[in-house]
C-alpha cells in the first residue's frame, strides 16, 4: 500500500521540503564525489561518470526540454533542435571570448536571440505541417555546420577550427566565488566516517573547484529552466499548447490563436536549445562546427523518446542517456561473448538506435512512465478537487486515475519520476 499524502496538507509541505533538500544534498554530494573520475566498475570495464559527463548531460537535458515543449506538448514535429543548440553555443562562446563577457551574462543575448530566430524559422510551420515540418527542420539542422564554416563568418566563428570560449583559443574559466569554501567543505566531507572515502582525500585543486562550481551552476540553470517550463505548462498558454497538440481544429474554434501558440512554442523551444548550447560550450570550452550536425538533432530525439514524450522529467533521463551511453559504450573494452571489433566502432549510436526501436515497441511512454508507475506504489499525492475540497475516504482508497492536467512539480522526486503528463 502506498503512503497517501493529501495535496496542500502539512505532510505535503514536509514531503516537498524533504525531497527538495535531498535533491540539493544529492547535487552537492555528486559534485564532491565525482569531481575527478568517479567511475563504476563492471568486470574489466570502468564507466566514467565524472562531472564532465554530467555537465554535458545537463546541457542535453535543457535542449531536450525544449523539444518537449514544441514536440511533446504542442505536437509540432520541429526536430532541428541541434541548430539552436549550436547557435547558443557559438553566441555564448563569441561573447565570452571576444567581448570578455562573464558566462552568465551571455544568456541575456543567447535567450532572446534563439527565441526570435526560433520564431522566424517557425513561421513556415504555420503552413507546413507534420512530416513536412520534420523534413524542413532536420534539413536546417544538417545545414548548420556549413553556415558556421562560412568564410564571411570566420571572424566570429573561427571556421573549421571551432570557437573557443576564452581568448586566444583557451577555455573560459568558471571561477567559484570567494565566499564558497569548496576546499573546506571537501575536507569536512572526507571526515565523515565510512562515507568519507567517496569524497577523495586531500585538498581540492583550483581545476577541481572550477569543475564543481560549473556543475552546481549548470544544475541551477537547469532547475530554473525546468521550473519555468513546469509553470508554463500549467498556465493558460500551456493549456493552449496541449489543445493545439490534441485537436488543432477544436483549439481554433475555442478561440485559441493557433499561429501565436505555435510560434510561442517554437520560440521557447529554441531559446531552451540555446541555453543548452551555452551550457555545453561552457563545459567543453570549444564550439566546433561538426558537433552540431543532424546527428545531434537525432540524438536529441532519442533523448526525447527514451525519457518519455510529453514529460518534463523525461528530458533529464534523456539527457543522461544520450550523454552517457555513447561514452560508456566506447569505454567498454570487453563484453564476454562479443568480438572486440564490435566495441570499437560507433557502438553507442547502435545502442541508441536499438533503444529507440525497443522502447517504441515495449515502453511507448519512455522510462519515465515506467518509473512513475513504480513511484505511485510508494508515495501518492492525492489531488484536491477544483474547489479545494478533500476527496472522500472512498476515493482515497481507490487508485487515482491520471488526468490531463499536470500536477504541480511538488519536488524533484516528482520531477524525476513524473508529475507532469
Amino acid at each position: 500500500m502506498p503512503i497517501k499524502i493529501l495535496a496542500g496538507s502539512s505532510q505535503h509541505q514536509l514531503y516537498k521540503v524533504i525531497t527538495w533538500s535531498l535533491f540539493a544534498l544529492l547535487v552537492a554530494g555528486v559534485a564532491f564525489a565525482y569531481v575527478d573520475v568517479g567511475s563504476i566498475s563492471l568486470g574489466e570495464n570502468n564507466y566514467n561518470i565524472s562531472l564532465i559527463r554530467l555537465n554535458k548531460a545537463i546541457a542535453f537535458a535543457i535542449a531536450i526540454l525544449g523539444l518537449q515543449v514544441v514536440a511533446g506538448f504542442t505536437g509540432q514535429l520541429a526536430l532541428g533542435q541541434s541548430f539552436f543548440f549550436g547557435m547558443g553555443a557559438y553566441a555564448s562562446a563569441w561573447l565570452m571570448a571576444d567581448h570578455d563577457w562573464p558566462f552568465l551574462l551571455t544568456f541575456i543575448v543567447v535567450v532572446p536571440l534563439c527565441f526570435v530566430i526560433g520564431i522566424v524559422m517557425g513561421l513556415p510551420a504555420l503552413r507546413i505541417q507534420g512530416l513536412y515540418l520534420a523534413l524542413v527542420t532536420l534539413g536546417f539542422a544538417a545545414v548548420f555546420p556549413a553556415i558556421v564554416k562560412l568564410d564571411r563568418l570566420f571572424s566570429i566563428t573561427n571556421g573549421v577550427g571551432g570557437k573557443a570560449t576564452g581568448p586566444d583559443g583557451r577555455k573560459y574559466k568558471l571561477e567559484p566565488p570567494e565566499w564558497l569554501p569548496l576546499d573546506g567543505i571537501a575536507e569536512t566531507l572526507q571526515k565523515i566516517p565510512l562515507l568519507g572515502g567517496y569524497f577523495g582525500d586531500g585538498g581540492i585543486s583550483s581545476k577541481q573547484e572550477e569543475r564543481m562550481w560549473a556543475f552546481m551552476m549548470f544544475t541551477l540553470i537547469a532547475v530554473v529552466c525546468f521550473w519555468m517550463v513546469a509553470n508554463l505548462i500549467k498556465s493558460r498558454q500551456g493549456r493552449a499548447m496541449r489543445a493545439v497538440r490534441d485537436n488543432p481544429t477544436g483549439a481554433a474554434v475555442s478561440g485559441i490563436d493557433l499561429a501565436r501558440t505555435k510560434a510561442m512554442s517554437f520560440g521557447i523551444a529554441s531559446a531552451l536549445g540555446g541555453v543548452g548550447g551555452a551550457v555545453y560550450v561552457a563545459e567543453v570550452g570549444l564550439a566546433s562546427p561538426d558537433d552540431f550536425t543532424q546527428l545531434l538533432a537525432i540524438n536529441f530525439i532519442v533523448g526525447l523518446v527514451v525519457g518519455g514524450v510529453g514529460t518534463l522529467s523525461g528530458a533529464v533521463v534523456g539527457g543522461l542517456v544520450i550523454a552517457l551511453v555513447p561514452d560508456w559504450a566506447s569505454s567498454t573494452q570487453e563484453v564476454g561473448f562479443l568480438p572486440e571489433r564490435w566495441l570499437q566502432g560507433p557502438t553507442g549510436s547502435l545502442i541508441l538506435g536499438l533503444l529507440l526501436i525497443l522502447l517504441t515497441f515495449f515502453l511507448p511512454g519512455g522510462i519515465v512512465s515506467a518509473a512513475r508507475t513504480l513511484k505511485n506504489k510508494i508515495v501518492r499525492i492525492i489531488p484536491r478537487g477544483p474547489n479545494g475540497e478533500v476527496p472522500g475516504g472512498a476515493s482515497l482508497a481507490t487508485p487515482v486515475t491520471a488526468d490531463d492536467t499536470p500536477d504541480e512539480p511538488d519536488s524533484p522526486v516528482d520531477e524525476l519520476v513524473g508529475a507532469v503528463d
Binding site: I128, A134, V136, G139, I301, V302, L356, I357
Partner: protein
C-alpha cells in the same frame, strides 16, 4: 558559356542520383504517407553489399548490383514485417521514431563492420567523355546515370500501371480500407513497396558512388538523403516523375544557381536546397507535382 554547360551537366548527374533515392522515398510515401528516414542508410548498406559481392565473391559488377538490390529488398521486407507493420499506419510519430532508430542503427552497424575509411567503388559505366565542347565535357557517367534513372522510373511506371501487384499498390495508396474490402492483402502489398524502395535506393547509392570522384563510406548518404528528401518533397512526395523533376531541380540549384548568385557561398548548396524546399512548401504545401489532399467535410 562553357562553364555554364559544364555545370548543367553536373546538375544532370547529381540530380539524377538524387532522383533515384527520391523515387525510393516516394514509393514508401505513396503507400503509407510515411517518410522513411532510414532510406538513405538502406541504400548505403546496399552499396556495401554490392562491394562485398563484387570484391570478396568476385561477382561481375552489374550482377553484384542486381543481387544487392534483391538482398536489400528482402531485408527491407523483413524490416517492414517486424518493425513497421505492428503499428497503426495513421499514427506517424512512432513510425518516424522507428525509422530514425533504423537510421542510427544501420549507420552504426555499417561503421562497426566496414569502418569509416573511404573505399573506392568500381565504375559501373564506361569512363571518359561522351562529348566535349571546349572546357565543358559530358561524361559517359552522366549519360548513363540519366539513362538509368529514366529506365528505372519507366519500369516502375510499367510495374505500377500494368501489373496486378502494381494495381494493388496503387489501390492501397489511394484508399486503404476499400483495398481490404476488395480482397487486397494490405500488409504484403506495403511490404512489397518497402522491398521495391530498398532495391531502387540501392541502385541509387551504387550509381552515386560509382562516380570515380566519389568513394564509399558509411556516412556517404547523409547529405544525399537531405538532397533526395528535398527533391521528393519538391516533386510532391507521391509522384515518380515529380521525384525526377525535383531531383534535377535540386541538382540545378546546387550546381547552377549557387555558383552564379554572388551572395550564396558555394558551401551552401545544401542550405539552398533546404530553403527552396521550404519556400515551395510555403506556396504549395503538397509540393510542385503532388496531389493536394482533398478532404470533404
Amino acid at each position: 558559356m562553357q562553364l555554364f554547360v559544364q555545370r548543367l551537366f553536373d546538375a544532370l548527374a547529381n540530380g539524377s542520383t538524387y532522383a533515384l533515392v527520391a523515387v525510393a522515398l516516394v514509393l514508401i510515401f505513396k503507400a503509407t504517407t510515411l517518410v522513411n528516414f532510414a532510406q538513405g542508410e538502406l541504400a548505403m548498406l546496399g552499396a556495401f553489399v554490392t562491394l562485398v559481392l563484387a570484391y570478396e565473391q568476385g561477382i561481375p559488377m552489374w550482377l553484384a548490383v542486381f543481387l544487392a538490390m534483391i538482398i536489400l529488398g528482402v531485408f527491407a521486407a523483413g524490416v517492414e514485417r517486424v518493425l513497421i507493420r505492428p503499428f497503426d499506419p495513421a499514427d506517424h510519430l512512432p513510425l518516424v521514431i522507428i525509422t530514425l532508430g533504423l537510421f542510427l542503427g544501420i549507420n552504426a552497424m555499417a561503421g562497426i563492420v566496414w569502418r569509416f575509411d573511404p573505399r573506392s567503388f568500381p565504375e559501373l559505366f564506361p569512363s571518359g567523355n561522351a562529348f566535349t565542347w571546349g572546357s565543358a565535357s559530358l561524361r559517359w557517367y552522366t549519360v548513363f546515370t540519366v539513362l538509368t534513372v529514366l529506365v528505372t522510373i519507366g519500369l516502375l511506371q510499367l510495374l505500377l500501371n500494368k501489373t496486378k501487384i502494381g494495381l494493388a499498390f496503387r489501390a492501397v495508396s489511394s484508399n486503404l480500407e476499400s483495398s481490404e474490402l476488395v480482397g487486397i492483402r494490405v500488409g504484403p502489398t506495403l511490404q512489397f513497396g518497402w522491398a521495391l524502395a530498398a532495391a531502387v535506393g540501392t541502385l541509387g547509392a551504387a550509381v552515386y558512388v560509382a562516380d570515380p570522384f566519389r568513394q564509399l563510406e558509411p556516412s556517404i548518404m547523409l547529405r544525399v538523403l537531405i538532397f533526395a528528401v528535398s527533391a521528393a518533397a519538391l516533386g510532391g512526395l507521391d509522384s515518380l516523375w515529380g521525384a525526377l523533376a525535383g531531383g534535377i531541380a535540386i541538382g540545378a540549384i546546387q550546381s547552377l544557381v549557387v555558383p552564379y548568385v554572388p551572395f550564396i557561398p558555394n558551401e551552401l548548396g545544401l542550405a539552398a536546397a533546404v530553403v527552396v524546399l521550404m519556400l515551395v512548401l510555403l506556396v504549395r504545401p503538397a509540393g510542385l507535382f503532388g496531389t493536394p489532399a482533398v478532404s470533404r467535410v
